[in-house]
């Protein structure tokens, strides 16, 4: 019994881990050079939503509530950074205040605890940076923040430890059937599987089509973000939303689990051919900036360290498409836009159980989901760090100055599967600080080259054609 999961984002990785509970073979097929590297799991708000946004009874509502409740424990098991910081939805007018009451009722119907509506003044007692124009606030104590890519990467690493196979640089180009099994054509050759789980994000409709399921379509919705230095990471402690519209939850301002301040996203629907165009635009940046300043007027641009865009996969039903397709043994996990990250642990459990109960798979005796990432140098006590350096001096060699990332940490990330600059960056935070890799990128490149035996010139930023260097010196002048 073999299950192929197409897509190594947070849904694919967590589902793979859930499947390794059972007696079956699991393989993740990921197009990009790394798990959690290509799509929505890498660039999103990193929010665990309390669960009051979705219409009661929808998949979004059901799985958000369940996933959000599971998240603390899943993050603890997988050593992914998570914090229950609470969230606030701001109202600037009486009309918006009335809308808050509706959200509150919806939250109660969805089973969300810890919801209340407070006045603007009460909210400013808790969050002094909020605009004076705010007249009331829906306060959700159970809202949280999570590091989406460490959740996905650690889940994939844990799944691997439990026997799953992870194939990167493996793009699915066709799905056929032979002797009752799926034959999946990929850029790395054919892969056979009894079940296929389609977790291909913005490409999920294309993948379903390959298998003969044309029941839904996916619209890529781009969202731009601005990320600020840790120096102002404490400007707000809650995740600050404005009132949602039909295009989503609007621009938020939030601390991240790593201590930065993040704002975004806007919402821009792209045509179907542009599914990976995560370019930022000046209009998008201006919109995000103006919206963020409306909520938190004290925000200053001086501490901006980077801007980026991510892509949400919006289905034509506007709900998560979960479960068996019209094609036998083909399971969709499509249209997983917000609150998809919050819902992901529950979705993964659900998808795995679909396969397990259909096949009556026995549980494996030796399943151990626990994954421990190398602690960050700055998270260790001084005595612990000193002892670690004595044991392995590479932990005394600091490569990334802004984020205090050591050579030992980077070598560990390479062992965990990082093959390029971004793979190291998303596992260690090297290059994520205020200088954005200006100092450490050449050194990270050297460490990858030496550790993997590759040429310097063959090391890329994020696989494919994203090479960093064009030549070794001496080869360019005739």
């Amino acid at each position: 019994m073999k299950v192929a999961i197409i897509g190594g984002g947070v849904i694919g990785a967590l589902t793979a881990l859930e499947l390794t509970r059972y007696e079956c073979d699991t393989v993740i097929l990921e197009k990009a050079s790394d798990v959690s590297a290509g799509g929505a799991s890498k660039a999103n708000s990193g929010i665990v939503h309390a669960g009051f946004d979705a219409t009661p009874g929808t998949n979004k509502a059901v799985f958000n509530a369940r996933g959000s409740a599971m998240m603390p424990q899943v993050c603890q098991q997988l050593d992914a950074r998570y914090k229950r910081n609470g969230s606030m939805v701001l109202a600037f007018s009486k009309r918006e205040s009335a809308g808050q009451q509706k959200l509150l009722n919806q939250g109660l119907a969805n089973g969300v605890e810890g919801l209340s509506i407070i006045t603007g003044d009460e909210a400013r007692e808790i969050e002094p940076a909020l605009s004076k124009e705010v007249i009331s606030v829906l306060w959700a104590k159970t809202g949280g923040i999570v590091c989406p890519y460490s959740l996905a990467m650690n889940a994939a690493a844990s799944a691997k430890k439990n026997g799953a196979q992870v194939m990167t640089n493996t793009e699915v180009i066709g799905i056929g059937k032979a002797d009752g099994a799926f034959v999946i054509a990929t850029t790395q050759g054919e892969v056979e599987a009894d079940y296929v789980i389609n977790a291909a994000g913005v490409h999920a409709d294309k993948i379903a089509n390959m298998a003969g399921d044309d029941s839904f379509s996916i619209i890529p919705r781009r969202g731009e973000y601005m990320l600020f230095d840790k120096k102002i990471g404490g400007l707000v402690s809650h995740t600050i939303f404005q009132m949602p519209s039909e295009r989503g939850k609007g621009v938020l301002v939030t601390p991240t689990v790593d201590g930065n301040l993040l704002t975004g996203p806007n919402a821009q629907d792209l045509s179907g051919t542009n599914k990976e165009d995560v370019a930022t635009t000046s209009q998008g940046q201006d919109y995000v900036w103006a919206s963020a300043r409306r909520a938190v007027p004290g925000l200053t641009r001086g501490e901006l360290i980077t801007s980026f865009a991510g892509m949400r996969a919006v289905s034509n039903t506007d709900d998560f498409i979960l479960g068996f397709s019209t094609v036998p043994r083909f399971i969709n996990a499509a249209g997983i836009q917000s609150p998809g990250l919050s819902a992901s642990p529950a979705i993964a459990k659900h998808l795995a159980s679909l396969v397990a109960s259909a096949e009556q798979l026995p549980e494996r005796a030796r399943f151990d989901p626990l994954f421990t990432s190398i602690p960050h140098a700055m998270e260790m006590s001084e005595a612990e760090l000193h002892a670690l350096i004595a044991q392995n001096p590479a932990f005394g060699n600091i490569i990334c100055r802004c984020e205090t990332v050591t050579e030992g940490h980077i070598l560990h990330a390479i062992q965990d599967g990082a093959t390029d600059i971004d793979g190291v960056k998303y596992r260690t935070r090297a290059g994520m600080g205020r200088c954005q890799g200006g100092f450490c990128m050449p050194r990270v490149l050297e460490i990858i080259a030496l550790a993997t035996g590759q040429n310097y010139t063959s090391i890329s930023k994020k696989g494919g054609g994203s090479y960093i260097l064009t030549a070794e010196r001496g080869a360019t002048v005739g």
Binding site: S282, T306, G396, I421, Q436, G437, M441, R473, T476
Partner: protein
Amino acid sequence: MVNVDLIVIGAGPAGMGAALAAKKHGVKDILILERADKAGGILPQCIHNGFGLHYFKQELTGPEYALRFARQIKEKQINIKLSTMVTGITADKIVTAISKADGLIKYRAKAIVLAMGCRERARGAIRIPGGRPAGVITAGAAQRFTNMEGLMPGKEVVILGSGDIGLIMARRLTLEGSKVKAVCEIMPQSGGLQRNISQCLNDFDIPLMLSTTVCEIHGSERVTGVTIARVDDNLNPIEETRQYIPCDTLMLSVGLIPENELSQGAGVSLAANGGAATDKYMHTNVPGIFAAGNVAHVHDLVDFVTEEAEEAGKNAAKFILNKKLDGKGYAFREKKTPSSAPLDPNEKRLICIVCPVGCEMSVYFDEGGNIASIKNNRCKRGLAWAKEEFTAPKRVLTSTVRRGNKWVPVKTKGAIPKALLFDAMSALKKISLTGNATVGTVVAPNIAGTGVDVVLTDDVEQ
């Protein structure tokens, strides 16, 4: 906890200058903590010349300038710990450092000189919209790859920002065979030294596009091009002037930011420029903590960093020895602002590079394009140089040569004809060194038949 009289953070020109001055003024127990595996700060990768004209009255390359101080540090037996990263400083002057050799170690100092330098402003801080491909690189990172690692960051390059590092790298990449298509500068004038515009851009016909910025980056995996546009008086791009330039690299030289995260941790106040605020004795608001060099303000010339650091080191010594801080102190020196463009169409201006005075001379041409007269030179040497500059220009060439899997910096001992620069580069590529040698050792006599030798600009050992 280890007690030390003076801790200097950083072994760049500021740190070494401060330590040497403190030693001279009576401090015996000094420790320099340096994160790199070599002293010199950023200077070892600045293989070009133009350093030392004010301080040493002669023109040196970056490695040569650094070596002069590094040798003195050794001679005066000042302790230095390399590959050691300071991760924290407190207001009561406890310094936490991490290294392979010592693990995590704490020092208590009587005084501290902050000399951490600065870092480059990155893409995020200047908000260029577009994709996030590989191939967007700061000038300093490109310089490190090219000069220290022997690796090329790009083939077809657009540079944004005309600061000195960007200009220097435009020349360096051109000499190494890359095509620098344009240098865009959002301001109406360049922030770089006049002579760098002359010797790094004009020499190689690289266009300097003023009041122009990069308004979009194209490419998803690697840069495929940039869109540039002229800007209006408010520095906003003018739509109609948008122009696409295909390239594989966007190099940024858009400013330097003093690196003061450690300073702030110790409670040091920052000035409006982001640098550690000091009085004229380079003393910060925290008693016993001094600051010098680019950590206080970004300097144009390293010579002035050294002078400022000597003041800081001297005063740190006085502080340790319980003497009063007095004397005239030190005032931050900015470079001469470039003069306005000449009004006379037959006039060209150039800044003399013969001596540190740096006269700005006016050279007048006759109808036939010959030199009619030269004014504003203060000596005859300048006159001769200006004539040569317009008839048979010569340049000192700096580059690197291979030594095993490393690269070491070299220069031509004197200027060679500008027309032979690329011939000399080709000849240097064939050289491969072995063994140890000291600065000044000839590695290629009579390069490209110019009669000029190529010499090492650093000690080479190990």
